[in-house]
């Protein structure tokens, strides 16, 4: 078969429109953000801003009153707690549904997916009402049972508010994990269960050494993706707490995760002088952190491919 010979120049000419598009849409904004992060560009200095080097980064990372690390810490905590809950709840529901005695699997699958498919903005507002201290259903029911003094400060106490937004996010997101895990579970051949039983493995041992290793490859990408979306969580939490409860005007609120913090303190409606340079530095720093975490996460996934899990299962 004769090779089609094309001049390099022709190839470049054909690629050029696409490359130009990418440069304009992807590359230019990234470079511009990078540039902005080294200036003092703000609402009021937009006409005469100047280059200030790494000053924005210094303020963000090294100034003593910077909220960056507390906010980052509580965001990471939120990610870890949420994602572990996704995994546990998703695994439990998937194992329950995978039981051959469960009838009407398609029906349950739809029911489980409903919270995930519902618009998160609306469910968030419903949850906000459920958690309301004075008139919310949770506390109203509590008052019927335990008397008029009863009241759980769901959104008023920092720890409880954190737990509240975890509950909501888990409720919204676990169905996705259920479906992913269920799919992986149903791909496990029946012979393995039989072989394990013959070898004398109990239910726990079967789960630990057969099910889990075989499900892991499907879980890794889902876990990484939802860790990133949880890290960047804005609408659900913001609609419920606005980042509060506030414990002091000088400290970030207990549910003020990075995106909410960014909005509240440097971009939001009540901010005096939006400091675009500082926001750009914030965005770049976040990008670096997310990129590093993703790299680490995918690295962990690559070390346990399917083959090795089966080997482990046989061992």
């Amino acid at each position: 078969m004769p090779m089609l010979r094309v001049k390099r120049r022709t190839i470049v000419a054909f690629l050029l429109p696409m490359l130009a598009m990418m440069a304009v849409i992807n590359l230019w904004p990234i470079l511009y953000t990078l540039y902005l992060s080294t200036t003092n560009y703000s609402e009021f200095t937009s006409d005469n801003y100047r280059f200030i080097g790494l000053e924005n980064y210094r303020q963000l990372l090294f100034s003593f009153d910077s909220d960056f690390f507390p906010v980052l810490w509580q965001t990471l905590l939120y990610v870890v707690v949420c994602v572990s809950c996704f995994l546990v709840v998703g695994m439990l529901t998937a194992l329950a549904l995978n039981n051959p005695r469960v009838k009407g699997l398609p029906f349950w699958r739809v029911v489980l997916l409903l919270p995930w498919a519902a618009p998160s903005g609306i469910t968030a507002l419903i949850w906000k009402f459920l958690f309301q201290y004075d008139f919310g259903p949770f506390n109203q029911i509590g008052r019927l049972l335990f008397g008029p003094q009863f009241g759980i400060p769901w959104l008023l106490n920092p720890t409880l508010a954190f737990i509240s937004v975890v509950i909501v996010n888990v409720w919204l997101s676990y169905p996705f994990f259920t479906v992913v895990i269920l799919g992986a579970l149903q791909g496990i051949p029946g012979e393995l269960r039989e072989a394990a039983r013959i070898d004398g493995a109990g239910p726990w041992q079967y789960f630990r050494h057969v099910t889990l290793p075989l499900v892991t490859p499907a879980l890794v990408p889902a876990t990484i993706l939802s860790a990133i979306t949880t890290f960047q969580m804005f609408n659900t939490v913001f609609l419920i707490t606005q980042g509060g409860p506030v414990v002091s005007a000088l400290k970030p609120g207990a549910t003020e995760f990075v995106m909410i913090y960014m909005y509240n303190r440097i971009l939001g409606a009540t901010v005096a002088n939006p400091h675009y340079g500082f926001i750009a530095a914030f965005a770049i720093t976040l990008f670096v952190i997310l990129a590093a975490l993703t790299y680490l996460g995918s690295g962990l996934g690559a070390r346990s491919p399917r083959a090795s899990s089966i080997r482990e299962a046989r061992a």
Partner: protein, 426 residues
């Protein structure tokens, strides 16, 4: 009447329609022209053509009342098209849009945003077309002063507003109304004992705007025009302690929606709220509302002083035809149109001739708010004010939730506000 005639005629007989239309113009012009220049006079220097885009936050009856005035202007000047665009977060959106050259011609918003918009060159001065003398002669003093920033005129005021005591006449009578701040607290306790599960007086206790009456009544202030926060004063502390003394009696999460529903459902006798809420409570004869001015602060002997917000129209930097914009502004806020607007939507007119008009004075709601406006302080239009809202609100929230003492909350808020102010002036 004239309108029906003209529109019916225009279908079949164009000449007659044109004749009637010019007749109508001739009839209308002397009414709005005259000695004082109140907009849309037949000045030859103005090019009456093109589109004017207005960004606003008006809704419901407000929007209807205002739309009618703009329709009238479009009828007077058929070549002018006025487009009203509703926006949330007007200030920040306008800032972005104007920088990109896609901004509106007029921005309608409350005066506290003027300083930052002017410093950001989002709105521009109109001195050439509207003088300070014109402002002072045409509008009530607080309203006129709100449109001047750094010695320049940026537009016109359309309405003023302030929060006041609104009470449910079927729950309490006028002689039961608390006259002083101590009375108010005592009333709250008494009312709740007598009516379990209900509230005497409610307001959003975590909101910087709604609590300004107490701070300013106790002699404190949020910020001075030169950009100094004043939250760490003993007066501010007294105000904060007074607010905190209501904690045992009010809801734990007294957001605006919560307290407003309580009043609307008859579960609260008094609410501290502003003109925007009146129609919701009174429409359909739901609640018979009475008005009273906010109580006198017992410690200082001065009345509680709410912020007087001045709803304003400013010219954006992207305005294409400044002369036309200025003419529309004057027309929109002339005496006749202000009276029409106020009667339709219950706003308190900024035009002083309209505010003094008997037709306006006899509207109970307008009179009620107008009495309170006289006792208030102008909502500062300095850009530094925008660095105060969040810290004050956070301090109020921390105190209301019981996580901080009033003194600690205020000193933290002072530090946060100082930091915010530094960001503005740097």
């Amino acid at each position: 009447m004239k309108k029906i005639f003209a529109s019916r005629a225009s279908g079949s007989r164009p000449l007659l329609a044109m004749f009637l239309f010019s007749l109508m113009l001739a009839l209308l012009l002397p009414a709005c022209g005259g000695a004082e220049n109140s907009g849309s006079n037949n000045s030859s220097s103005i090019d009456f053509s093109g589109t004017i885009v207005i960004w606003h936050g008006w809704q419901g009856t407000y929007l209807q009342a205002k739309q009618a005035i703009f329709n009238e202007y479009m009828r007077l000047h058929p070549k002018v098209k006025i487009v009203l665009v509703h926006q949330d977060n007007i200030a920040s959106k306008a800032a972005t849009a104007v920088k990109a050259g896609n901004g509106p011609d007029i921005i309608a918003f409350t005066d506290d945003n003027l300083g930052s918009l002017a410093l950001g060159h989002v709105v521009v001065p109109l001195d050439q077309y509207i003088s300070q003398d014109y402002l002072n002669q045409t509008y009530t003093p607080a309203a006129a002063s709100a449109l001047v920033f750094n010695g320049h005129v940026y537009g016109v005021p359309e309405a003023v507003e302030a929060v006041t005591l609104m009470y449910n006449k079927s729950l309490i009578s006028a002689d039961q109304l608390p006259k002083t701040t101590d009375d108010l607290l005592a009333f709250e306790k008494r009312y709740e004992q007598a009516h379990p599960g209900q509230y005497g007086v409610v307001w959003p206790t975590e909101d910087a705007y709604f609590n300004a009456p107490w701070f300013y009544g106790f002699g404190a202030q949020y910020v001075t025009p030169d950009g100094k926060a004043h939250l760490d004063t003993s007066q501010a502390l007294q105000a904060m302690e007074y607010i905190a003394s209501f904690r045992p009696y009010l809801p734990k999460q007294p957001t605006y929606d919560v307290v407003s529903s309580l009043f609307a459902e008859g579960k609260a006798a008094i609410i501290i709220n502003g003109p925007w809420s009146y129609a919701d409570y009174s429409s359909g004869g739901k609640i018979n509302i009475g008005f009273a001015t906010l109580p006198i602060v017992t410690a200082t002997g001065t009345p509680a002083k709410p912020f007087v917000g001045v709803k304003s129209l400013w010219m954006a930097k992207t305005a294409k035809n400044p002369a036309l914009v200025a003419d529309l502004m004057k027309f929109y806020t002339n005496k006749a149109n202000q009276i029409t607007m106020s009667r339709a939507d219950g706003e308190i007119p900024a035009n002083s001739a309209a505010a003094d008009d008997p037709a306006i004075q006899q509207l109970p709601a307008v009179a009620g708010y107008a009495a309170q406006v006289k006792l208030g302080v102008a909502l500062p239009n300095t850009p530094y004010m925008s660095a105060l809202w969040t810290p004050v609100q956070n301090a109020l929230t921390a105190v209301w939730n019981g996580t901080q003492t009033p003194a600690k909350a205020l000193s933290d808020a002072q530090a946060a506000a100082t930091k915010g102010i530094a960001q503005i002036s740097s």
